[in-house]
């Protein structure tokens, strides 16, 4: 297993330059672009003293290189800055307040997309070249081209406004959470942990429309990937051998699925960035109090340090998830080594 250890170490070390570059990119985008961020965000009409005050508070009056080093070393110490508004609260605390909502949404959205993708992809792969396959190809294109807020709104209209079956905004019915303290911030889990099943059920009800919206739009990519893998694996010798030995269709399919799923895992890393983009739009549509809603609200209030901290956090988050996915992939597939 020594080679696996090498792989994990090298892959982890590789994350350092990637993170450094992302942090630098965020800095360049937010600071070095023409004009200064505060003025362009507040607008030209704000009194100059107010703008100066905000710039002073955000440390934007120091030389650029000092700002850059302050910024890098701050993040290294886990200091993401303090909010310019909301009583100078550390940005990291605020991020952790909103992160669980986004994680809960992305987990469920991701699950929906993988389930739809596996089912449709397997069918398309097994029936490749038929009308079903073609129809599923069109499905994958349409799913990809669907604008998340629009699909979400159509669901809100049908299931919320007309049928009145499901809640269309927020994470939970506020009256349920009076004198209730969440443990992890993931409400579905917290309900179980604190013995409040009513909360778990209500949280699940709130999750249905947002996660199906997010899941459908992302499922198209999995449909195609699973299909391509199924076709490839079906053509391999071991499948023909298994069939020749008289294994039943279902048993053969089980082997095929296991082998076809490995490449799907690598795509999950890349899909994660797409998942986060989708989550921002889904959150806005369903007034979901997660990271996307939070970031947009702070952009509106020109809370510059919080905006920077949140974007930095996204960068770190994506890099770490990609690292974890790559390591998982190496664990499953022994061919991945340095």
């Amino acid at each position: 297993m020594a080679s696996l250890r090498t792989y994990v170490i090298v892959r982890t070390l590789m994350t350092i330059p990637i993170v450094l570059i992302l942090l630098t990119l965020v800095f360049i985008i937010l600071r070095v672009m023409p004009g200064d961020p505060i003025t362009s965000m507040v607008g030209m009409k704000a009194p100059p003293e107010y703008i100066e005050m905000l710039k002073e508070k955000a440390g934007l009056n120091k030389p650029l290189i000092i700002q850059y080093l302050d910024y890098l070393f701050g993040i290294l110490r886990g200091d993401f800055g303090r909010s310019l508004i909301w009583g100078e609260r550390p940005v990291l605390y605020e991020i952790f307040d909103h992160l669980p909502a986004t994680i809960e949404l992305t987990i469920f959205g991701f699950a929906v997309s993988v389930i739809i993708g596996l089912i449709t992809g397997t069918i398309a792969g097994v029936r490749s070249g038929t009308k079903t396959d073609n129809a599923l190809r069109i499905y994958s294109i349409l799913a990809y081209a669907t604008f998340i807020p629009w699909l979400g709104m159509m669901f809100q209209l049908i299931f919320g406004v007309y049928l009145k079956l499901l809640p269309i905004s927020g994470r939970i019915e506020p009256s349920l959470t009076i004198d209730w303290k969440p443990v992890t911030g993931l409400y579905v889990l917290d309900g179980i942990l604190t013995g409040r099943l009513d909360i778990t059920i209500d949280a699940l009800k709130h999750l249905i429309l947002p996660s199906i919206t997010l899941g459908i739009v992302l499922s198209g990519a999995y449909t195609r990937l699973v299909r391509a893998n199924i076709i490839e694996v079906l053509g391999q010798d071991f499948v023909r051998a298994a069939k020749a030995r008289g294994l039943s269709e279902i048993k053969v399919l089980r082997h095929v699925l296991k082998n076809a799923f490995i490449p799907v895992l690598t795509m999950m890393g890349l899909q994660f960035a797409i998942l986060l983009t989708g989550a921002v739009l889904t959150e806005t549509t369903f007034s979901w109090p997660g990271m996307g809603t939070f970031l947009l609200e702070r952009i509106k209030y020109v809370d510059y340090t919080t905006i920077q901290g949140t974007i930095v956090f996204f960068a770190l988050f994506v890099s770490i998830v990609n690292l974890v996915v790559d390591i998982l992939y190496a664990l499953i597939d022994p061919r991945i080594r340095y």
Partner: protein, 288 residues
């Protein structure tokens, strides 16, 4: 002119102009249809997209085929003129990304070495970052306007072109005819422009149309979140944002049509891309 001829030659030899497939045709019909409708907008509707008709929140009727919004703007007119906004932003942005990403990818892939590694790691980092959040950060810093939306979207897609062109350049540069050109004493710049670049074009074309489809969704996302063209400019994503609260009161036509148009236009470009890649890479059996 040389390059245009080269593209046409290439397309002809690949049989693209003769036997295209169903996906490609469907895509062309959708995209051309939307372009023609938006170009003919003044003939198709008597209403301006930014002047109230005095008829507020009117449901779809013969007079207003897609109804009117809360300010009495005719939605059909806004949908038609909105196509102009979306296409302007998206096509300019993707052309800009292409203009930056393709040369960078060519240089990086052709010369290799330290510069290549440096550019590659920057591009890979950007590629891994959630596209809408990156565009949002740029647009928020620059302020909401048409030009800034173009810049924000262009930055996001540079890595897409870079990665594809770099990869292709790596494989093309080791091909026999490139070796032959080099042996005959052709300069690097001549090899890049005359031998490598023309061979990239078909793939660039596929990526370009796929990329436009993706950029349409990013533009819609930016304007839905309030970071693209300022009101009252007609724009589908912005109309969805404005219409959302009214939709919850049952005024569905404020959001249904702009959202359908986003999907239709993105589907059109995605179909063109799919069709093109089927034609260029005929292993996958075509639909229809």
């Amino acid at each position: 002119m040389n390059i245009v001829n080269a593209i046409l030659e290439k397309l002809k030899t690949m049989g693209l102009l003769r036997n295209s497939n169903a996906l490609f045709k469907a895509g062309i019909i959708i995209v051309a249809g939307i372009i023609i409708l938006s170009a003919l907008a003044p003939l198709l509707t008597p209403y301006s997209p930014i002047v109230g008709t005095g008829d507020e929140l009117a449901p779809p009727s013969l007079k207003h085929p897609m109804g009117t919004n809360n300010l009495g703007y005719d939605m059909f007119s806004r949908v038609l003129y909105g196509a102009r906004t979306v296409l302007t932003v998206v096509v300019s942005a993707t052309l800009l990304s292409m203009a930056i990403g393709v040369p960078l990818g060519l240089i990086s892939g052709y010369y290799g070495g330290k510069v290549d590694r440096a550019i590659s790691i920057v591009m890979d980092s950007m590629y891994a970052f959630p596209s809408l959040i990156l565009a949002l950060a740029i647009a928020a810093v620059l302020g909401a306007s048409l030009i800034n939306a173009i810049i924000a979207i262009a930055v996001v897609y540079v890595p897409t072109y870079f990665r594809m062109v770099r990869g292709q350049t790596l494989s093309i540069k080791s091909l026999l005819y490139v070796e032959a050109a080099r042996a005959l004493g052709a300069s690097d710049s001549r090899i890049i422009t005359r031998y490598v670049f023309p061979n990239l074009l078909p793939t660039v074309l596929v990526v370009f149309s796929m990329n436009i489809a993706d950029a349409i969704l990013t533009e819609a996302g930016l304007s839905f979140l309030g970071f693209s063209v300022p009101p009252p400019t007609p724009d589908w994503g912005a109309d969805l944002r404005v219409g959302h609260s009214f939709m919850l009161a049952g005024y569905w036509w404020l959001v249904a049509f702009p959202g359908l148009m986003i999907m239709l236009l993105a589907t059109g470009f995605a179909l063109i891309g799919e069709g093109l890649s089927d034609i260029l890479n005929p292993r996958r059996e075509a639909v229809g």
